[in-house]
């Protein structure tokens, strides 16, 4: 069990965070850059001393500013995968891994780790000769080498190209399970957080604004910020109860319904993949309650789906298939009706 609570001043704002991660559990710290995520890792590693705080791991006290305890980083034994990996440029891959190992049989053990991460054939290469994906694996092997008590990973996949990332992500998930220690993973990408984190803590301006499983966060965002961060579309308006539902008069015109209850100023969020697109005019009869007239402002392919940027008085986004684009003959400037269910609409008071 790794637990941390810390308060410290970072450029421009106050970091105030408390978190726990159990052995074998990966807690993803997700949020925009500059939110203080990396500072949390640095406090755990002993590289940054907060103004006030307490860090302990497996019952061992690493930092207690009240008691004056501050165990130096070299005695904490955390495995830290730095952003861009920070491999030693003057050492070969295996010597990077062996850096944390005792002198005897260090080469065998380093090669064994590199072999487990399927990169033993690059053991003698220098970091600048390795690809991004290879560097990531060497950095992970180095962090795992000395059997760390906790793992800290700072944007471990963001330096990789899209093709390498999915594969590296699966390997990383496996390695995290096998290591069986508490892990903290920093990412600005909600998809990465949901892939690798057993739980996700959303960090904004030095605070953990919400935490839970990725599914919980996406389904019940506690704030417009979290809704936006999880990829949902956020619409603002004024809510009032109507016919057993909540009716929201949207800023910029139009109104929608939600099964959530709220009154006053609200942020309504809906996932782009829950929005259906139909030709303009009277909506086809169906169970969906919400219909907004909109104009297509952008069409972006994302893999096998297409994200439509819409202007419905407020910006809106829908995800549909290629076939739907063809069948409806959609192009920029097309008028459409966006339709979704009141039960897919989450409300958060503003």
């Amino acid at each position: 069990m790794l637990s941390l609570e810390a308060q410290t001043t970072l450029g421009g704002f106050e970091l105030d965070a408390a978190l726990e991660a159990a052995a074998g559990e990966c807690l993803a710290l997700a949020g925009p850059s500059g939110a203080g995520k990396t500072s949390i890792l640095r406090i755990v590693a002993g590289l940054h001393r907060p103004d006030r705080g307490r860090v302990s791991c497996d019952g061992e006290l690493w930092l207690d500013t009240n008691a004056g305890t501050d165990v130096p980083p070299e005695q904490r034994r955390v495995g830290y995968v730095f952003q861009d990996y920070a491999l030693f440029p003057h050492l070969s891959a295996w010597r990077n891994v062996a850096y944390a190992l005792p002198r005897e049989s260090r080469r065998e053990r380093a090669l064994e780790l590199l072999d487990r991460l399927k990169i033993a054939d690059r053991a003698d290469a220098r970091p600048h000769e390795l690809s991004g994906g290879e560097r990531q694996r060497v950095a992970l092997a180095r962090a795992l080498a000395a059997r760390p008590r906790a793992l800290l990973l700072d944007e471990p996949l963001s330096a990789l190209d899209a093709r390498t990332r999915a594969h590296a992500g699966r390997e990383l998930a496996t390695a995290l399970r096998e290591a069986d220690v508490p892990a903290l993973l920093v990412t600005h990408d909600f998809a990465e957080a949901s892939l690798l984190g057993d739980r996700v803590a959303v960090v904004d301006r030095g605070r953990i604004v919400q935490h839970g499983t990725a599914a919980e966060l996406a389904a019940t965002p506690g704030s417009a910020f979290v809704a936006d961060f999880t990829g949902a579309v956020v619409l603002s308006g004024d809510a009032h109860p109507a016919e057993g539902l909540t009716r929201i008069a949207l800023d910029g015109g139009g109104s929608i319904a939600s099964t959530d209850t709220a009154a006053g100023r609200v942020a309504a969020s809906v996932h782009p993949w829950d929005i259906a697109i139909a030709p303009p005019g009277d909506p086809a009869p169906g169970s969906a309650q919400n219909h907004l007239h909109a104009e297509v402002v952008s069409i972006t392919a994302i893999g096998n789906r297409v994200r439509l940027g819409l202007d419905a008085g407020q910006p809106l986004a829908a995800e549909v298939t290629d076939a739907a684009i063809r069948d409806l003959g959609l192009k920029r400037g097309s008028r459409v009706t966006a339709t979704w269910k009141a039960s897919a609409t989450r409300l958060v008071a503003l």
Binding site: G46, P72, P73, A86, F88, H90, Y99, A100
Partner: protein
């Protein structure tokens, strides 16, 4: 060629000619056999041996004390840091005669530390002191820049991997900064080999004891111009080799 480009090319040509011709003249004025013959002279050999010995000892002292100094200045922030940096750089801009007077005023027989400790004036040890004084800033400045250029995350990575500050210094900071450290060492050595004014004032010019090559050149240029040329040629060769090794060390630094 555009007029402006032509202007730049002219400037380069003038600069090259002005800087290269005098050095080339050292070799052009004398036959190689004369040069080699002059080096057979005992006093020339004494000067060369003394120059190399004192410069290398000075370099060893500078590296020993200057490397940790530079590392401290590069990696820690503390009150008085910029004052310390400025004071260390001061000898860079000090005229050599002033350096000589400064050494006499502090370590000379009438100096503030005079009479205490070993006698330095007019001794080989005095030469080493003078060389160290004028050359140390060249090394410390370069070493400080090289340490400052090491990505701090490399040193943090080393710490999280179980290495204390001392092991991080030896196994990460020094190897990663080594090209810059070598360059700084070469610069300091070059400066020490060429030192003239401070050495003359503080240690004098006694053959075999304090007469380094620059002092020997000065002593004989009126009476034995060929001999002065020969010694100069040797210094040019050593300095050129030093400069080339600095360039090579810089180029071979890893990506």
């Amino acid at each position: 060629m555009r007029p402006f480009t032509a202007l730049l090319a002219v400037a380069l040509t003038v600069a090259l000619l002005f800087l290269v011709i005098p050095v080339a003249a050292i070799f052009a004025n004398t036959a190689p056999s004369d040069l080699i013959h002059s080096l057979g002279d005992a006093s020339a050999r004494d000067a060369l041996r003394l120059s190399l010995e004192t410069s290398l000892i000075a370099l060893a002292v500078i590296v020993l004390v200057g490397t940790p100094t530079a590392y401290l200045l590069a990696t820690r922030r503390f009150r008085g840091r910029s004052v310390a940096i400025t004071l260390i750089e001061l000898p860079l801009v000090l005229p050599p005669a002033v350096a000589g007077i400064a050494l006499l005023a502090s370590l000379g027989p009438q100096g503030i530390f005079g009479g205490h400790g070993p006698q330095l004036v007019l001794t080989t040890a005095g030469v080493v002191v003078a060389l160290t004084f004028v050359s140390a800033p060249f090394y410390i400045r370069q070493a400080q820049e090289s340490f400052a250029a090491v990505d701090p995350r490399l040193m943090e990575a080393s710490r999280t991997l179980g290495a204390g500050e001392a092991r991080t210094f030896w196994q990460v900071a020094v190897p990663v900064a080594r090209a810059g450290l070598l360059a700084g060492g070469a610069l300091a050595l070059g400066r020490a080999l060429g030192e003239f004014g401070a050495t003359l004032m503080f240690a004098g010019s006694f053959r075999g004891v304090t007469q380094t090559v620059p002092l020997a050149i000065y002593e004989r240029f009126a009476t034995d111009f060929t001999g002065a040329l020969a010694l100069s040629a040797v210094l040019v060769a050593i300095s050129g080799a030093l400069l080339a090794s600095v360039k090579l060390a810089g180029r071979r630094a890893f990506a």
